[in-house]
C-alpha cells in the first residue's frame, strides 16, 4: 500500500477513534450507567457529572502514564542492573563506572558550558531585538525573519550549519561561508581590524561591564548600605560571590585581549571548524542560539508591549535617559517573563541532543549528556550506564522544571 494512503488511514482512524471514544463513552455514562430518568434522576445526573471529567482525562493520563511516568521508574530500576549479568541488581556500580569515565565528565562540563552560554545569549539577543524593533516601521518584518528559524527542526538547522562550517581543500572553492570569509583575510589591515581590534574592543567592553559589576556589588560594602533598610543575611555572601565571579571573568577577558594580539593566526588555510577543541562547542551552540532567539524575542516583545506607557513617561520626567529607562524601568517590570524565558531555554539546553548528534556526534570534545546516554544505551548496548546517565539528566532538569512552572504560574496570576 502507498505510504500516503497508510498515513491518511492512520489519521482517519486516530481522529475518528478519539471522537468515537468521547461520544460513545459519554453516551454509555448518560444512557446506561446513570440514566437521567427514573426515580433517581437527580442523583444519577450528579454522579454522571462527577465521573465525566475522568472520561475526558483518561486517554491523556493513560498515555502519559505509559510513556512518561512508567519509563521514569523503569529507567531508575535499569540503572541499578547489569545487562551482561542477566539484569542482576548491582547497586550503584553503573554510577561509579560512569563517574570513572573521562567522557562523562567531558559531557558534564560541556553541558554546563551550554547551560551558561545558550540561555544567556538567546535571552539577551531576544531582548535586544524585541527592544530595537519595538518602534520601527519595519520591525514586524525583522521580527518575522528572526522568528523563522523556530520553524526549522534541530536536525535541519544542524545540516544548514554543517554547510556553513564546511571545509574544502585550499585549491578548491569553499562552499562553507565561514571558510570563505576566513580565506579572504590575508593578515593585512582588514585582518587586523576584524580579527584583532574588533574582538579586542568587544572584550574590552565586556571587561568594563565586569568592572562596573564589581563596583556595583561591592559599593554598599565600602560606602555603606542604601539609605534605608537592613540587608538580608545572604546579601553579603552573594555580593562577594558575584564580585569574585566578575573578577575572574574580568581577568579572563583581559588575558584574552593579550593573547588576541600575540597569537599567530593560520591565514590562507581552510579550517575544519568543528574539530577545534573547546571552540567547536561554541560553533554548535550558535545553532541553538539562532533558533531560540526567535522564541525569546516573541515572548519578551509581548512583555515589553505590556509595560504601561505612563511609567516610562514618568521616568522621562524624572530625568531618566534611554539606558535608565531600559535597565531600571523596563527590565525590572518584565523580570518575571525574562526568568520564564531563561528557564524554558535552559530546559531545552539540558536535553540537547540532536544538534550534537547530527554535527559532531560528540567527537572532538563536544560530548553532551544526552548524546552520551544515547551512545551508551544504543551503541554500547549497556542499558545500565545509559539509564544512569538518563537519571542524571533528569535530576538536573527537575529543579529547573519546578522553578519554571512556579514562575510561569506566578506570571499568570
Amino acid at each position: 500500500m502507498n505510504p500516503a494512503i497508510q498515513g491518511l488511514i492512520t489519521i482517519v482512524v486516530g481522529v475518528g477513534g478519539c471522537l468515537g471514544y468521547f461520544y460513545l463513552s459519554n453516551q454509555f455514562l448518560d444512557r446506561v450507567l446513570y440514566p437521567a430518568k427514573g426515580p433517581n434522576a437527580g442523583r444519577n445526573i450528579n454522579r454522571a457529572n462527577q465521573i465525566r471529567p475522568w472520561l475526558f482525562l483518561f486517554p491523556a493520563i493513560f498515555a502519559l502514564g505509559l510513556y512518561l511516568a512508567y519509563p521514569v521508574f523503569e529507567t531508575l530500576r535499569l540503572s541499578f542492573t547489569d545487562r551482561s549479568a542477566g539484569g542482576a541488581f548491582v547497586g550503584f556500580d553503573n554510577y561509579s563506572q560512569m563517574a570513572a569515565e573521562p567522557k562523562f565528565w567531558e559531557a558534564m562540563k560541556n553541558n554546563m558550558l551550554w547551560l551558561i552560554v545558550v540561555p544567556a545569549a538567546s535571552t539577551a539577543a531576544g531582548l535586544l531585538v524585541a527592544q530595537l524593533t519595538d518602534r520601527i516601521s519595519w520591525g514586524n518584518i525583522a521580527k518575522s525573519l528572526i522568528f523563522m528559524p523556530m520553524a526549522i527542526s534541530f536536525v535541519g538547522a544542524s545540516v544548514i550549519f554543517k554547510l556553513v562550517y564546511d571545509t574544502r581543500a585550499v585549491d578548491q572553492d569553499q562552499i562553507g561561508v565561514l571558510n570563505a570569509v576566513w580565506l579572504s583575510f590575508d593578515g593585512g589591515a582588514w585582518a587586523v581590524i576584524f580579527l584583532r581590534l574588533l574582538p579586542a574592543a568587544i572584550l574590552l567592553a565586556f571587561a568594563a561591564f565586569m568592572l562596573y559589576g564589581i563596583y556595583l556589588s561591592l559599593r554598599p560594602l565600602i560606602w555603606g548600605e542604601n539609605e534605608r533598610g537592613k540587608p538580608a543575611w545572604w546579601a553579603l555572601p552573594l555580593r562577594i560571590v558575584v564580585a569574585v565571579g566578575a573578577a575572574w571573568l574580568l581577568w579572563l577577558s583581559l588575558n584574552s585581549i593579550y593573547s588576541l594580539f600575540t597569537v599567530a593566526l593560520p591565514y590562507g588555510q581552510p579550517q575544519t571548524w568543528l574539530t577545534i577543541p573547546f571552540w567547536n562547542n561554541f560553533f554548535l551552540m550558535v545553532v541553538l542560539i539562532w533558533i531560540q532567539t526567535g522564541f525569546a524575542m516573541v515572548i519578551l516583545s509581548a512583555a515589553l508591549r505590556g509595560i504601561p506607557e505612563e511609567t516610562i513617561e514618568a521616568a522621562i520626567i524624572d530625568g531618566a535617559n534611554p539606558f535608565d529607562i531600559f535597565f531600571k524601568i523596563k527590565i525590572p517590570q518584565i523580570m518575571g517573563t525574562i526568568v520564564v524565558v531563561w528557564t524554558t531555554i535552559t530546559l531545552v539546553v539540558l536535553k540537547i541532543f540532536d544538534i550534537v548528534f547530527a554535527m559532531t556526534n560528540g567527537q572532538w570534545e563536544t560530548q553532551v549528556l544526552a548524546n552520551y546516554m544515547y551512545d551508551k544505551l544504543f551503541r554500547a548496548n549497556d542499558w545500565g550506564v545509559g539509564s544512569a546517565a538518563a537519571i542524571v539528566i533528569m535530576l538536573l532538569v527537575t529543579p529547573i522544571l519546578i522553578w519554571n512552572v512556579y514562575n510561569a504560574r506566578k506570571e499568570m496570576r
Binding site: 542604601n226 539609605e227 534605608r228 504601561p308 505612563e310 511609567t311 513617561e313 514618568a314 520626567i317 530625568g319
Partner: protein, 370 residues
C-alpha cells in the same frame, strides 16, 4: 515659582492639527484648570507643557525661558498621571527617590525630601510597601509625593482623580486644594473634564474646545458671565437653558422676543440696528424662581420631575418640541406632574448670545477684566 507664557502654541500630528494657536499667560503660583469635553486637546496641551509632546509651532516659556526644545526633566516640572504611573517594582520610598537618585542627590538630601513629602501626605507607614499593596487613594498620594520630591516650579496634574471612587475623589480634591495652599509659590496646572473639580480648585479656569481656548477666567466669572454659548452650557449643572429668540428692541436694555411671542427685557446693551436679529436667550435652571404674580417669564405644564433630595429638577413643557425648560427647585417644594407653573428670574441672571454664540455682554467683560 514660575510663570508660563504660551504664544500661539500649535500641535499637529501630520496634517491633523490638535491645538490651533493657544495663547495663555499663567502667573507664578496660580492654580490653573484646563477643562473641556473629551478630545478638546486639554491633555495634549498639558503634555506639550510637560515636554512629552513636541510643539509644532509657537513658543512656550517657563520662567521667561523658551523651553520648546528642552527635555522634560530640565523644565522644572512634575507630573501626576491619571493612572498614577508608579513604578510597580519599586517601594513607595524608591518611587519618590528615583528622580533624585538620577539627579545625583546625596542620600541625606533624598531621605530628607522623601520624609518631608511623606509627612505632608501621611505616607510614612507605607514607605516600604510596593504600589500593589496600596489602595487607589494611597497610590495617588504616592504619585503626588513623587511630584513634590522633584521640588518643581510647575505641577502638572492629568485628571488625577478620575480613577478614584466618588468619596475618595472628594477627599483627594480637598487634599490637593490644601497642598496648593501650602505651596503658594508653586504654579499648578490641572486637567479635568469634571467641572466640579474645575470650579472648586481653580484660581482661573481655561475652557478648551476643539483645540481653541473658549474662555479664560476665575470660576465665578465663567459661571456668571460666560463669554459664549459653549462656556455657558459647559459650566453649571444641569446646563443652562438656551432658547431661540429675536431682538425686539436694541439699546441699553434689550428687549427679547422668544418662545410663543413672549417678551423679556435684559439689562445688556446691544448695538442699534441689531433689532430683528436671531439670537439665543439663556437662563440657568437654578436662577429660575416660582413667579409670585401672574406675569412670568415662563409658563408651562410640568412634564417630569427628578427628585434629588436637597433639590429637584422640574422639566417644564413650554411648547418646544422635546426640549423642556429645566428648573432647579428646592427639594421640599411640592410639585405635581401635569401642574401648570410659572417661573420668573432676576433680569441680571438673563444671558443673550448673538448668532455666532458670543455673549453680547462680552465687551463689558473685557473692559472689566482690564
Amino acid at each position: 515659582m514660575a510663570n508660563l507664557q504660551l504664544r500661539d502654541v500649535r500641535k499637529a500630528y501630520g496634517n491633523l492639527e490638535i491645538l490651533h494657536g493657544i495663547n495663555l499667560d499663567i502667573k507664578s503660583g496660580e492654580f490653573i484648570v484646563f477643562v473641556g469635553p473629551s478630545g478638546c486637546g486639554k491633555s495634549t496641551l498639558l503634555r506639550t507643557i510637560a515636554g512629552l509632546e513636541q510643539i509644532t509651532g509657537g513658543t512656550l516659556e517657563i520662567d521667561n525661558t523658551v523651553v520648546n526644545d528642552m527635555p522634560p526633566s530640565e523644565r522644572g516640572i512634575a507630573m501626576v498621571f491619571q493612572s498614577y504611573a508608579l513604578y510597580p517594582h519599586m517601594t513607595v520610598y524608591d518611587n519618590m527617590a528615583f528622580g533624585m537618585r538620577l539627579a545625583g542627590k546625596t542620600k541625606q538630601e533624598i531621605e530628607e525630601r522623601v520624609k518631608y513629602a511623606a509627612g505632608i501626605l501621611q505616607l510614612e507607614p507605607y514607605l516600604d510597601r510596593l504600589p500593589k499593596a496600596l489602595s487607589g487613594g494611597q497610590r495617588q498620594r504616592v504619585a503626588i509625593g513623587r511630584a513634590i520630591c522633584r521640588d518643581p516650579k510647575v505641577f502638572l496634574f492629568d485628571e488625577p482623580l478620575s480613577n478614584l471612587d466618588a468619596a475618595l475623589r472628594v477627599a483627594t480634591r480637598i487634599e490637593i486644594a490644601k497642598l496648593s495652599e501650602n505651596m503658594p509659590n508653586t504654579t499648578m496646572i490641572y486637567v479635568t473634564h469634571d467641572q466640579v473639580e474645575a470650579m472648586t480648585l481653580a484660581d482661573r479656569i481655561v475652557v478648551l474646545k476643539d483645540g481653541y481656548v473658549e474662555q479664560v477666567g476665575p470660576p465665578m466669572e465663567l459661571y456668571l458671565h460666560p463669554g459664549n454659548l459653549f462656556v455657558a452650557q459647559f459650566i453649571g449643572s444641569p446646563a443652562m437653558n438656551i432658547l431661540p429668540a429675536k431682538i425686539a428692541k436694541a439699546g441699553k436694555t434689550t428687549q427679547v422676543e422668544y418662545v410663543g411671542g413672549r417678551k423679556a427685557s435684559v439689562p445688556v446693551e446691544t448695538p442699534a440696528g441689531a433689532a430683528g436679529q436671531d439670537i439665543s436667550f439663556g437662563v440657568r435652571p437654578e436662577d429660575l424662581l416660582v413667579a409670585k404674580g401672574t406675569d412670568a417669564l415662563f409658563v408651562g405644564k410640568v412634564d417630569y420631575v427628578e427628585q434629588l433630595g436637597e433639590v429637584q429638577l422640574v422639566y417644564l413643557d413650554i411648547g418646544r418640541e422635546d426640549e423642556p425648560l429645566v428648573v432647579k427647585l428646592a427639594g421640599n417644594v411640592e410639585v405635581k406632574r401635569g401642574e401648570e407653573m410659572r417661573f420668573d428670574a432676576d433680569p441680571g441672571d438673563l444671558h443673550i448670545f448673538d448668532g455666532d454664540g458670543r455673549s453680547f455682554a462680552r465687551e463689558r467683560l473685557a473692559v472689566a477684566a482690564e
